[in-house]
């Protein structure tokens, strides 16, 4: 596609449930990033993939958060045992390589009730 695509655009879940958020990057981009944007804040870095491997996961808040990119294209962010504090907009970005301009998707708004 022409841009970074994220699905779903909105996700409502109950506390304790498991959720998956999907990111489809720009074709040919090897680098993929996940960020979390809480209300009134700027995006915060979660994890960076170069190809299939997670090159930097230092931003993941705890072990309930996990992300994969098995074929080096689409990525899935997985959150186990969701908590109300996980409510935020989750943004995905891709770039041609490490350090190149990052292009962002519209995000997935996660609401944990």
């Amino acid at each position: 596609g022409a841009g970074v695509s994220q699905t779903p655009s909105n996700k409502v879940t109950e506390k304790g449930k498991y959720v998956e958020l999907r990111c489809d990057p720009i074709s040919g981009h090897t680098a993929l990033y996940w960020y979390r944007q809480s209300l009134g804040q700027g995006p915060e870095f979660l994890i960076y993939f170069q190809g299939t491997g997670a090159a930097d996961d230092s931003g993941l808040p705890n072990d309930r958060f996990f992300a994969v990119r098995p074929e080096g294209s689409v990525s899935t962010l997985k959150i186990q045992r969701t908590e109300r504090g996980d409510s935020a907009v989750y943004l995905c970005a891709s770039s041609q390589g490490r350090g190149d301009i990052q292009y962002f998707g519209a995000g997935t708004r996660l609401s944990v009730l």
Partner: protein, 115 residues
């Protein structure tokens, strides 16, 4: 560790007036600097970037920014704003020399254009 400070959470400006959105950063190494704009219910869009070279960089929609290393600032300016510029603006820094891979963002400045 790096950080980005956007001192103004909101900036109201009359249409056709000039505007400056302030951004200061802290980092121990050389950085790349960015301004992104976020329109309501949309993703972040790159306005402009500073990687190296000329300290005055021009971006889309008539915006420009000046990198000042001594003051560790990267303020965003536009000489005449339009109603359509109403949005949230984020300053961000990339610290590749320090090994960080993701961007560090400021908290954002909401630009409000008044008719």
């Amino acid at each position: 560790a790096q950080s980005v400070t956007q001192l103004d959470s909101q900036v109201p400006v009359f249409e056709e007036a000039p505007v400056e959105l302030r951004c200061n950063y802290s980092s121990s190494v050389s950085v790349y600097l960015f301004w992104y704009v976020q329109y309501p219910n949309q993703g972040l869009q790159l306005l402009l970037k500073y990687l190296s070279g000329s300290t005055l960089v021009k971006g889309i929609n008539g915006f420009e920014a000046e990198f000042n290393k001594s003051q560790t600032s990267f303020h965003l300016r536009k000489p005449s704003v339009h109603i359509s510029d109403t949005a949230e603006y984020f300053c961000a820094v990339s610290d590749l020399g320090g090994g960080a891979d993701g961007l560090t963002f400021g908290k954002g400045t909401h630009l409000i254009i008044q008719p």
